[in-house]
Each structure stands twice: as structure tokens, then as C-alpha cells.
Symmetry: D4
Subunit: 249 residues, 8 copies
Amino acid sequence: MNTDQLRELLKSVQNSTVDIDTALDKLKELPYHDLSYAKVDYHREIRSGFPEVIYSPGKTLPQIQGIVKDMLGRTEGNILASRAEPEVYEAIREITPDAVYYKEARSVVVKRQPYAATDSYIAVVSAGTSDIPVAEEAAVTAEVMGNTVRRLYDVGVAGIHRLLDNVDVVSHAKVVIVVAGMEGALASVVGGLTDKPVVAVPTSIGYGANFGGISALLGMLTSCASGIGVVNIDNGFGAACMASKINHL
Amino acid sequence: MNTDQLRELLKSVQNSTVDIDTALDKLKELPYHDLSYAKVDYHREIRSGFPEVIYSPGKTLPQIQGIVKDMLGRTEGNILASRAEPEVYEAIREITPDAVYYKEARSVVVKRQPYAATDSYIAVVSAGTSDIPVAEEAAVTAEVMGNTVRRLYDVGVAGIHRLLDNVDVVSHAKVVIVVAGMEGALASVVGGLTDKPVVAVPTSIGYGANFGGISALLGMLTSCASGIGVVNIDNGFGAACMASKINHL
Amino acid sequence: MNTDQLRELLKSVQNSTVDIDTALDKLKELPYHDLSYAKVDYHREIRSGFPEVIYSPGKTLPQIQGIVKDMLGRTEGNILASRAEPEVYEAIREITPDAVYYKEARSVVVKRQPYAATDSYIAVVSAGTSDIPVAEEAAVTAEVMGNTVRRLYDVGVAGIHRLLDNVDVVSHAKVVIVVAGMEGALASVVGGLTDKPVVAVPTSIGYGANFGGISALLGMLTSCASGIGVVNIDNGFGAACMASKINHL
Amino acid sequence: MNTDQLRELLKSVQNSTVDIDTALDKLKELPYHDLSYAKVDYHREIRSGFPEVIYSPGKTLPQIQGIVKDMLGRTEGNILASRAEPEVYEAIREITPDAVYYKEARSVVVKRQPYAATDSYIAVVSAGTSDIPVAEEAAVTAEVMGNTVRRLYDVGVAGIHRLLDNVDVVSHAKVVIVVAGMEGALASVVGGLTDKPVVAVPTSIGYGANFGGISALLGMLTSCASGIGVVNIDNGFGAACMASKINHL
Amino acid sequence: MNTDQLRELLKSVQNSTVDIDTALDKLKELPYHDLSYAKVDYHREIRSGFPEVIYSPGKTLPQIQGIVKDMLGRTEGNILASRAEPEVYEAIREITPDAVYYKEARSVVVKRQPYAATDSYIAVVSAGTSDIPVAEEAAVTAEVMGNTVRRLYDVGVAGIHRLLDNVDVVSHAKVVIVVAGMEGALASVVGGLTDKPVVAVPTSIGYGANFGGISALLGMLTSCASGIGVVNIDNGFGAACMASKINHL
Amino acid sequence: MNTDQLRELLKSVQNSTVDIDTALDKLKELPYHDLSYAKVDYHREIRSGFPEVIYSPGKTLPQIQGIVKDMLGRTEGNILASRAEPEVYEAIREITPDAVYYKEARSVVVKRQPYAATDSYIAVVSAGTSDIPVAEEAAVTAEVMGNTVRRLYDVGVAGIHRLLDNVDVVSHAKVVIVVAGMEGALASVVGGLTDKPVVAVPTSIGYGANFGGISALLGMLTSCASGIGVVNIDNGFGAACMASKINHL
Amino acid sequence: MNTDQLRELLKSVQNSTVDIDTALDKLKELPYHDLSYAKVDYHREIRSGFPEVIYSPGKTLPQIQGIVKDMLGRTEGNILASRAEPEVYEAIREITPDAVYYKEARSVVVKRQPYAATDSYIAVVSAGTSDIPVAEEAAVTAEVMGNTVRRLYDVGVAGIHRLLDNVDVVSHAKVVIVVAGMEGALASVVGGLTDKPVVAVPTSIGYGANFGGISALLGMLTSCASGIGVVNIDNGFGAACMASKINHL
Amino acid sequence: MNTDQLRELLKSVQNSTVDIDTALDKLKELPYHDLSYAKVDYHREIRSGFPEVIYSPGKTLPQIQGIVKDMLGRTEGNILASRAEPEVYEAIREITPDAVYYKEARSVVVKRQPYAATDSYIAVVSAGTSDIPVAEEAAVTAEVMGNTVRRLYDVGVAGIHRLLDNVDVVSHAKVVIVVAGMEGALASVVGGLTDKPVVAVPTSIGYGANFGGISALLGMLTSCASGIGVVNIDNGFGAACMASKINHL
């Protein structure tokens, strides 16, 4: 709650149009609903531009169902459950027929409204075929958040001509998400080719000295190309959040 | 060189307005000038929105002078040397009186034009007093790149009210750079408070289990707030590049 | 055995009320009972305030049963088996009907006495829903050890108002246990809000650069808020031990 | 600012004894003073029991002097600057003759009041002679914070009888700080001998596989003795903060 | 092949009692038998005091059977297969009825001769019940190699009196093997109590900051007690080899 | 596409024997075929000497089948799928009866032509029996790529005479691949014995402080023998690529 | 000493043209000369193609002088001291006026013969200006070892056209050394462009998440381009050894 | 104090030949002398076979002098200060003229008695010239502890014949200390050649992927040769302690 909202509330208290206990309640109950095991944050959309997303791992199916039910009753927008295994999808479908499962992206969307679109687009670029699940998580998330997306897959630097040949997809985007495992070099090459912000997602694709994505992560963090923001390993969702914020500016 | 430029050149060749060897030379010489120890990339501005910046460490003073001279002769814009110790400043000043030294930011600017400004601004937020050098590197770089900047320093989460009290600086920005060492928690808190993209810079401030910035780096990468792009440890320059790209969209 | 006890024993030997071999035996057999595969430490309660707890992993079911039987015969208090999978519960139940299973906390209690309570309470605060199993391990352990506990779950810093709104739970506690994964920033924010000792438990919740809890662990160790003691990753049990010692002061 | 204080302020606004702008100012200016490079947190004492401490590394001498001056004018208590090299002491002495330098503890105290004392005491136990600087940082900090302290140095486990012989110092304390480098085993042994909370400080003393304190840190985190809270490597100050909070309960 | 053996062979060649090709063959075939997938080293016993041991992981069952068959035909001593899962035991039993399975120690012995014994003994000391499998691997291996062994289990430092009470087992041994997980402090305490060489085995027992045995490994390597030799994590076999070499001096 | 090819194309455009759109298409379509989820790189053979290889992990079976079908239609050479589990083999066999499965090497070859051979040979040397799968991946890959191979297995340094006795296999090779886990010392010993280039493959064979191959990897990188090039852990395929390039010089 | 040499010696013994003690001496003294602190290996040239090189760090100046003197008396070729600081050069110059110092490459050569050359050449390619010292170490070492070298510096992937424009230098080489810090992506791009073996040298150039060269090292080990052999961080010398072995095939 | 000594004391108490307070004092004062900053352990010689050694780093010069003075007054044997820089030597010399400085070994000995010797010897073997300081620390320490020592330096595995040629030094020793940096392979080769216990000392010699001795440490821990006990990086002193214990059996 920012200063302006605080001033307005104070005014209402001063005007006695709002009494003190009501004001206290407002301050306490406006921003979230408490399910004891979860405090669903309905204020997040105002603050950060997209409603709370259900991160599935570590939650029991009844907990996920409880959160979805709560959100169905209190919001009208689409609901996203990320990192959702098929049983999560089944559990949500028991609650509502609007659940759609994007298997490759491991994402469930309770689609109550058509996705919005933007004139500008987010380019989602992946280095290899094996990186596609993470890239799809990014692409689907971005679409749910109301963005136009263009995909460009399997353009890793071992065959640099495949990227150079499709450089228009990159250079016409408003923001570029680069998804790459192994050494993650694609981020550096793309970063050197475009004046648009690049959000880089290291993936855990690889073996041995890849160490579960560390090689790509370090490669992207130390990239010789400037202006690259890196998210967590395999975090297609987080990359989409950042790209969506940028695309909606 | 993108497809459109290639097509234009091919047309000139077809029209015989350009002969083949000239075309080949163009393809070869347009983009950079070769000083043997450095291939100064004059095409970078077209590609990535800002001229090549001189990263000072690891270069000899004569090499830095040579690059500055070359850029002075071939460009008209401001020139930035980053991570510049005082002796780098002295060396550049021998070449040109336009050199300005931002000591705290460890940056030298050969200021041949006034800095441009933007209506929107980049907020540079730091957790502690000790993080200011990195924050200043970000702020100065962003200013050189033609951005309006607002600074908000020493608002770390151990006294969360200092941030909440200044939340307007964050929420009115177009993009926010968060600079924090130790556990880097400020990025998560800021990321949870705003719908603007956040570029997070872990710093090496701290000791022991900080491991030269790893604690802040990992904290920012695994932030529970979405939409945060992370750059390398102490990389105020890189954060400014990304923020500038976003601010200029 | 401390100096006072040694003096008393020496006196008895001097008075010849205790002969030497008996004294030696006492010194040898008082503190533990030897099952060959385990030396059950019955002296621990005197020394460290709570009877030996059975850490289940790495022990065979017959070993666990043997230890429980031994403790049943030689003590009268409650018995706690931590990190207990369902088969451990089944094995203990074969021995005694007093076994109670706290599934979420993965804890078995042989409840032979009602839990004691304290006027002051321990606050157990968790960042996310996924951290609840570790938080419950802490809460159940603290309760078994005779403490009043208050739980406050899902108040992570990405929605800082959820914590600020419940800050009374924290500020009225005698000691606070903070359970958080990912970047573990909740510990810093709570540590900055209270003058009570904070025991921080990093959890392995997260992925990628979380590295099985390292990000939260390092974040808590390098916290910008002072006065935070950190226990091992996912170690809800250990946090409860420390909090219980403090709460019983 | 907690709910009670908020309610009181709201009442004053409702009564019109406080007008809105004044209320807003109060909310904004009460908690800290803004020196631009530092926001000195005068609210911290209310929240966390001790005034803000000046962590010296990374701050310029003029910044430290500025903060001390500001605190001298706005508080009446003692002021502590931690990790202070001799030049920090000299700089503070220029400002005030009350500065006292504890060289071994690398701490400067502006001593304007005699230190308070407690009936109960904090035991500060160190494994080796080389750990004394960190132990002294803990001891001096605890004393400045108004605690009685007892020191027990050089009782590492390679000569376990030295500890056993002094076990009373440990068992009569209200809380124990254990300072140890190398493998940090002293924390486990002390933790097994006492029912008092133990705050463990790993030190960077050692070489090779010590890795700057990691061996001691990991040893303490994975201690087989329960109820040990660990602070950052070499963080005597943080240990004293936690112990002081416990000792003052 | 050492210098003396070389001289003897050279003499035989000089005397023409051995012709050159035979000499070459001897040099080639004496020391091992080549099964293509394995070169069974029959010379190892001469060199390093015990016949080649079959390390089971990574070998197929037919390969293990082939090696056992080869050794049965060419040696008369006992054969040891380490890290042997039950199916390895079954496979070896198909070859010979002399196979004995030590399940806890995960060791198969083809027992063709009674184990030898020594006047002096090796003490095998473990910190916890969970460390017993590794301790048993050490104890069984030592027994197969012809050593008298005494076991002392569950004497970890959290209950230091359990060790002090049995200190005779340690002090009368010729060499002591200490097996401990978590922080591995037992090695330091034992090392401080005895003038006998200590071979320390870190185990992977523990969780979180134990990192699969790293905490114990580092703790043992940086022990404040001198004269401790450390072997690989969980390497009970290697510890027995070293202890056996020492015990047989 | 190198400068010569560019010049030729430009000439054709100038001569109007090739029109611009055709030229653009050529530039775009020559080098790969786009299956959306994969851009099969048919230009790689020209550039890097061997057709694109299918790295199986992370690809779905239909994706692998699609790539194989595409390659069958557009090339005439052998096709290699690496890291192929049995189900990959089954999937490829559904497409073509020419599929051959090298189980130990986890490699599928669609063998449409007999393997070529070279006069010189590549020596593939392994330290232990457990390293054979990686060694076979290297050997089979090298054979598919048209090289003569000689294998020398189980010659690790704990029985150095086994290697010395077969040193001719090493010294007569044109290039040597050394495959070793644990401490990887075999690479250093072989590197000190030969004037031929050595390609070292660390394997993940081992346990504990092996850390999944890190010990062997670091050992090979820091080898006291010069002239050793190291590939990724368990990367028999990559070693064969490098050795094949050298052998074909 | 290989089998052929052994046979020859055995024959001489058999013929009595060599007596046994002489043979033993030969076996003992041929391969090295013992200076007690160093055993200078004069056999290395026969085995590994280049005389022993003096690695300077960790040796005292008198030791280096002693080794050079010994080599001057026993060999006629050029002598190389690597990682040589200026004082090493001065020390060697005291011994012989033939010492030449390559400052950038930190190499001293006692040049007693002109360097040999080869028809084919080794390409030494560096990513940035700061990588030149390591690149020069590689280039100078290769020249001393009798190779023709071509340098191509500052062609990192952030300006990929600089490399593409000079791709002939790479494609006409017999073997390519790629020297790169930061993310080391240049190795992958070069590896994808050529069918020649690539020796990759990660450098410690960079900061933060570069971790002294680890980012580049991991990037090169996990490269998506096959056929890349990696040497130690900053090990220009080792790369030259491997490249020289390949170039001389 | 072991059980026998305890029994004896108890008897004296029973007999009233020793009164209780005297007994308590004995228990308290026998084992060490308390200098407050150090508790000098005079019981260590009885327990662990050699008097307490002064580890110099982290101690002030006055502390070192105080400890030496205390030992001079209470013992008659030689006194060893390890890791002693020249100023430590100077400080000790001020106290006693018997101080001898072994510069290469960084050891000061207050030599009040001639060193004892043993019939059997300890072999100290080093891989390279740069490892000699650590090897000398081991050798000097062993000599001070009364052992005969034989040195064999610069016999690393890149020239394996240098070791094979001197294999007698190894095989006739009672125990072997192997000192090696880089990949530490020498320990494996020596371990495979001898039936004597091997104590391995990894050194920090090397660079890059050596990581301050980690490569050698891991290599030695994962050695394919059994029966190797490893001590801390650069810990020549610890290796000598263990070897001395073995040699004195």
C-alpha cells in the first residue's frame, strides 16, 4: 500500500467516513486471503502486474485445489499453475472444466478469458531441441500474461548460420528470451546482435561439467555482451515475467 | 549486418553500381577497425545501441590510449572507460582534455557532448553504504547512455521502513536497478513491491559465507519475487546497459 | 559429569560408603546403556535438557525398535523419533500403542505424558506453503519439548504486507523460528523487525541455483540483520531444540 | 511501527490533534535520518534492542565520521563501530575524545555511558589462541550491549581435558558463544555438555581444506549436538547480538 | 619389478640360461593376466601386501564372475569383493560355494582359508549407529586381511562420556580407525587422546550442509589433532588397507 | 559460408545467372532443414568434418524419429545417435532396419555404408574395467567416423607395470584417448610416455570425493604432463571427435 | 625406455658387449641428471617430443640457474623457462647472454638455434585484448617448439562479424588454439566453424561469477561444438604443447 | 587421564594418602598450564607422543614468546614452532640462543637435545622442485620427533622412470610420505608400488584448476591405490606426525 492510498484512507478516517476499526481491518484484510497453509496475495496484481501464480512443487494436491477455489471465487482473470505435473492438472480439472494443460511447458491455465496480445512481441530463442520444455514454459507463461510471442528453436552456436539466418526474429522483437544449456553461449551471441534487452535462461541440459546448469548460468552471468539479465536455471516462468513487464512498458 | 542491408548491397552489385571487390571490402571493413591488439567495433552502436565501451582491466595503458585515439578519430559521441583506476584516467587525459573522472564509479568519460536525458527515469537503489561504488557505476553509466537516473541508497531490509517510506521512487521508475551485497534480500522485497522490471546487481560486499558475492548472487537468482534479471557480481555497468535498453524502448 | 558430582562421589569413596569398584561402575554405567549398535545416552537429559531423540535415517527398523524398547524400560517421559517415514511409525507402533504419527512433520512421538506448555511462546514463521513440512517438524518438536507454539505460514517477502500485517505474532514471541527456502530473505526481514532471538532454518525448497538449500543457507548466514542463529538445511528439529532452550530460560 | 503505534496515530488524526501532513511526516521521519549515503536507523533500538552499529568496511572515513556525528547529536547511548582498523579509530577520535579502541577486537566504542551489566553471564569460549580476535569481538560487543561476560580461551578438543576441567564456566552461563576454526569440533562437544543455548562462530583460522572457514562452518551446521545456532564466519559481532538478546530475556 | 629382480633376470640372460624372448615374455606376463576387460594384477600381493580386490560397482556380473574364476584358478588365498550388492553375492555363489556375504559391510569373501589374526588389534570406532555399515566394511576388510579387530560403536562427541568411558579400547590398539559422519569431530577427539596413528573415514551420513560427506571430510582434514590420515568418504575398505599395513609392520 | 563461396555467389548475381531472391534463398536454406523443433544442420559436414550427430537425452522419441527420417532422405552416410538408451534404438529401428545398437557404448548407428579405416590408429586406453562404457563410446564413435582403433583396457596406475608392458600400443598410435575416473592419474603417466597428442576423458567412476568425476577432471586439467587436451566428464563421444580430426590430418 | 630399447640393451648384455653393472647404470643414469632439488629429465625429448621446460613459479632463482647450467652443458637445443617474471630473466641472463625475454608471454628462451618452422600453421585466436598475455604464451611457446604461428586477436563473440570476417585464418590452419575468458563462448563458435582440432584455453580474465576462470573452463568443457580439447586455466603453454604435437604429425 | 590413572588416584583418596582438594587440584592442574591466551598442554606428550607444538600463524609474537618461555621452564625436550616466518624465529631467539631456523621448512626448533634416530626410516618423496618447502616441513618435523628420514625429490609421474629408478628408497622405508601438487598422481603410483603405509600431502602448487591444492587433494582421496591416508593441503607437519607415530610402533 503506497503513500497515496495511505493518505486517502487517513482522509476517510479524518472525515469520519471510515471509523478506526474498519480502517484497521482494511489495512489487514485487503491484500490477501488467509487459508492458514497459504496467504493468497490478491494485492499482487496491483503491485507487480500479474496475479499470484501457483508454484506447484511442494504443495499437496488439496492445497493446490484450495488455492484455485479461492482464486476462482475472488478473481475473474486467468489462473496459472507452473511446474505442474499431470496429477496437478487432474486435481485442478476436478475443480473447474476451464483447466487447460500445456504438457511440454508443464503449465496449467484456468482459462476464463481469451489471452490478450500485444503489437510488439517477445522472441523466445532456444539453443537446442532439449531446451524446448523450458522455452515453452517461457512462451506459454508470456502468452497467458497477454503477450504476443515468436518462437525460434534449435539455433545454437555450433551452427551459427542457423541463428544469423533468422536474425530478423531477434532484431524485430521488443525483448528477447534466450534459453540455452551446456555453455549457454547463445546468450552472448544474441546479446551482441541486438539492441533489445535480453533475458537469459540457463537450462540444466548437459552432463558432467554442466553441473545441473551451472556452466550455462556462469556463462550467461559473465557474458562478454552487455545488457543481459539472467534468471534462475530452468526458470522459463521467471524470464517470461520479466519479459512481460518490459513488453508492457 | 542484417538481411535488409545484405539485400541492398546485393542490389548495388547487381546494378553494377558497386563492383565485387568493393562489396567484399565493405563487408570486411565496415564493422570494425583493426589495431592488431584490439578490433574496435564501430558497428556495435548500430547493433546494440551504444558504442563499444573500454573495459580497462587487463589492458595496458598504451593499449587504452590507442583505442581512445582511434575512437576519437572515428566517432563523435562520448567515450566510456569502465573499471578505470586513476592511472587510466591520467593516461586518457594525456590524449584529450575532455576526460572526466567519476572516482566513486571508477569510470572515465570523454565527454564531447552533453548527456541526453529521458522523461522516464531509472531508479538505482542500494542496500547499504558500502554498495554505493557499484551503484554509482550503474548510475553514471546510465547517465552517459542518455538516461535520467534517481538514486535511493542505504535502504536495506534490516530496516525495511526506510524502503517502504521511499517506495514512490521505486514505483514511479520505468525500470529499477537494485544493488545489494550480503544476502541480497533487497531485490526480492523491491521485486514484490513493483510491476516494473528489476535488474539486480549482487555485490561482493560482505565476508565469510558471502564468498565474494555468491550469497547475494544466489539469493537474487532464487528470489521468491518474479521478474528479476540478474547480472554479474559488482557489474553496475552491465545493469545500466540492460536498464538503458529498457528505458529507451 | 561435572565437578560437583565428582566431588560427591569422591567423598563417598573417602567415607567408604562407596567402594572403588562401585564407584568405577557408576562412572561407567550411569550415563548410557550399551546396545552394541547404540549407546543410549540417558545422561543427556541432565546435560542438555531433553532426552536423546532417535534420528531415524540410517538406522534399521529393528535397531529403532530396540532403542525404543530400551527407553520405554528406563524412562518415563515422551520419546521422539525424528525424520520418521511411515514404516518407522509402524515399527514403533508394534512396540507400543502410545505412538502418535505427525505425518507432515515426519515425527513419531511415544506420548506417555501430556505435553507441557509455557507462558511465553515460540513463533514458527514460514515463507511459503512448501516450507510447511520443515516448519511443522520445528513446531511439533517444540511442542513435545514442552513449549507453547504459534504458527505463521506463507508470509514470504514477495508480499511483504502479509508479514507486516501479522508482525504481532513475531514481536510478542519469546523466540522466533524462521523457515524459508529459495533466497531465505524472510530471516533478514524478521530479524530487522524484532528484538527477540531469531533461529533461522534454510530449506531445500527451490530449484536450480538454490542448490538444495545453499542459497537460503548463505543468505541467512550473511543476513544484514544481526542476531540470527542458523541451523542446518531443513533442520526443523535442531531449530526447535535451540528455541526450546531459549524459551525455557 | 507496530499496530498499537499505528492505532494511536490514527486516533490523533481522528481527534484532529494531529493533522494529516504531520502524520505523514511522522511516519516518514521518525525512523531514520537521511545522510544521502546513509539512512541512519534510529528506530532500530526500539525494534531490535540495540542502536544501529557502524560496520566499518566499505565505508569511507568521511562517511564514518558523518554517521558518528549524526548519532552523537541524536542519541545519548554508546556508539559501536565494528571491524574498525586503526585509521577508523583515528577518524572517530577526531570527532570525539570519548572514543575507545579495543584493538584485538577491532572495535571502537564511543563510550558516553558506563556499560550496563547482567546477573547472568555470557560465556565466550574459544578453541585456540588464534581464535581470540574473533572471540574478543564477541566479548567486547556483548559488554557494550550491557552484558556480563566470562572468557574461556584455548580449550580446543585436541586436549579435551582443558575444557572438561573448566566445564563450570560453560554450565553456569545463561548462553554460550563458541568460537572455533579448523574443524570447529568444539561447538559439538560444548553443545553436548550443556542445556544452555549455544551460539557457534566458525573462524577462518586454518589453511588448505579449511577454505577460509568453510570447514568449521559446515562442521558447526552439521553438528551431532542439537540446539546450536551458527552465525557467519568470523562474525563475533553477530554472535554477541544473538547472545545479548537471549541474555536479556 | 624392483632392481634386484631386474638384476637376477639380467644375469640369467647373460648366462644364457634365459633367452631374450623368454625374458621379454616374463617381463610381460608375470605380473597380471589379461581378460581384455580386466588385467588381473597377480603381482599386487607382492607389491602392496594384499591380492587385488574386486571393486564391484561399474562391473557387469559376468565380468565379476570372470575375474573370480580367474583368481580361483591362479591363487589360493581368500578373495574379497567390496561394495557388493546382493546380486553380486548371488553371481559369485554360482561360481563357488565358499562365498560368504557380510551384508552390513556389503562385502563378499570367498573364504578358502581361515582368517589370520594378529596379537595387536585395530580399533574400529564409529560415531553413530548410522555409520555402522561403513565401520563394518572397515572391520570385515581388516579381518579378511588377517587382523584382529575390536569394535566400539556409537560414541560420538555429543555424549563425550561414552567415548571417555571406553578410552582403553582406543589406547590399547595399535592403530585406530575412526568412522564418523556429520561434522566428523570424533576423529579430532580420538586423535587428541591417543599416541597411535588414526585413520579417519568421513561418512556421507547427515543431510543438508553435510553435502554427501564433505562436512566430515573437511573436518577431518583440518583437525586440530595431528597425526590423522584421512581416506575417501565412506571408504571403510581403504581405511582397513592402511590400518592393516600399519598393524602388520 | 566462407569468403570464397560468398564471392562465387556474388559473381552469379552480378552475371545475372542467379537472381537476388534465389541468392537470398540459397543463403537461407542451404545449410539446414527446419523441423521447427530442430534445425538439422546439413552444412556441418562441410564445416566440421562429420555430419550432425543426434544427442539423444532430452529429445522425445518422435523428435528423434523425425530427425532420423529427415537425415535418411537428405544424406547417404551413416547416422549416429549418441547416449541412446534401448528405447531410442527401438524407435530408430521402427524407421529403418539398418540401425545397429552398441549397447555398452550406448550408441545407435544407422549403418548404410561400411566404416572407413585409416592406416594410422587411435589408441583408446582405459584405467579400469568400470571405465569401459565411456571408452567404448569413444571407440565406437571413432570407428563410425572412419578411424582404425586399438583398445587397451584396465591399465590404471595402481599397477603401473600393466601399462608399461603395453606401452607400444600407446607409442605407435597417432593420437591417444585416455579414459579414467577416480584421480585420473593415467592421463599424466601416458602423457609423460608419448610424444603423441593425448585426449583425456575423465569419468564419473568413483564415489565420495570423486564428486561425479570432478576429481578426475581436475587431475587431468592440472596434469604435470604437458600436451593433454581434456573433454567433458564421461564424454567419450567428444574425445572421439577430436581424435578423429587429428587422425585424419 | 620402450621395448625396442630394452631388447637392444638385453642383446648387448647377452653378447657381453655390455656388462651387467654398466647396463644397470645406463638404465639408471641415461634418462635424467640428479641435482638433488631437481632431476632434470633428458629423456623427455625422446618420449614427448620437446626437452624439459622449466616451470618457474615455486623455484628459487639459484635452482633455476642450476637447472639452466645443467641443460646448457648437456643439450644443444633451445631452452624455455615459462611463467618467468623479470627477475627470472635476469637470473638466467647472468648465466648466458643467449637469453631472450618475451615479456608479454612471460617466457624466457635461451636461443641457441634459430626456431624451426612448419609449412602448416597453428592459429592462435583470442577473444579479447585482455587475453593476449595467455595467447602470447601459447604463440611464443609454439614458435620455440618449431611451429609457424598466425595470430588473430580480439574477435570475441559479442561482435561475431569480427570472427566471421577472418574465418580464413581459422579454416586454413592445421590446428587452432582458442584463448578466451569470461564465458569462453568463442571456443564453441570456432569449433562449429572448422573441421580442424581446437585446443581451448580458458583464461582468468573476468570478475565476479568468473571465479578466476571457472566460467570459461566450464563453458569450454560443456561446449555444444564437438572436438574441443581443453587445457588448464591460463595454460597457454600446455595448449602450445598439444598443438605442436598435432602440427608435427 | 585414563581409567588406570583414575583408579590410582581414587585409591590414594581412599587411603587418605591424598585428600580430596589435592585430588581435585591434581585433576585440574596436571594436564596444562593456563596463560589465559593459551592453555599449554603438558599432558599431550603422554597422550599423543610428542609435546605440544606451537602453530605460529594467528599468534602475536609476545604470545609465542610467552608460550616458549613457559615450555622452557616446564619441559626439557626440544620445542618446535611450525609455519614460522623469520620474525617468529627472531622473537624466539630473543628468548633462547638454542633456537635453530630451518628456513625452507619454515620451522623453528629450540634444540636442547640432539635429535633421536630410528633404525627404520621415513621416506619423504616429492613430485616436483616446487613441492620441496612442504616436503622439508615434513622431513624436519619428523627428524625433530626422533626419526631417521630419507629424501627423494622431483620424481613426478611425467617422468615415471625417475621414480622407478629410485624405487628402493620407497620400498625399504617403514612408512612413506608423498608430497605432490597439481594432480597429485604420484601418491597413486607410489601406493601401487609398495606394501608400506603411505601418507599423502597435497600441495597448493599449481594454478587455475588446481584451486589452491584441491585438485591434488581430491586426486589423493580418490586414489585407485588403496592404503593411502591423506592430510590437509600443504600440511607437511601433520604428515610427519602420522608417519612418526607409525615409525615408532
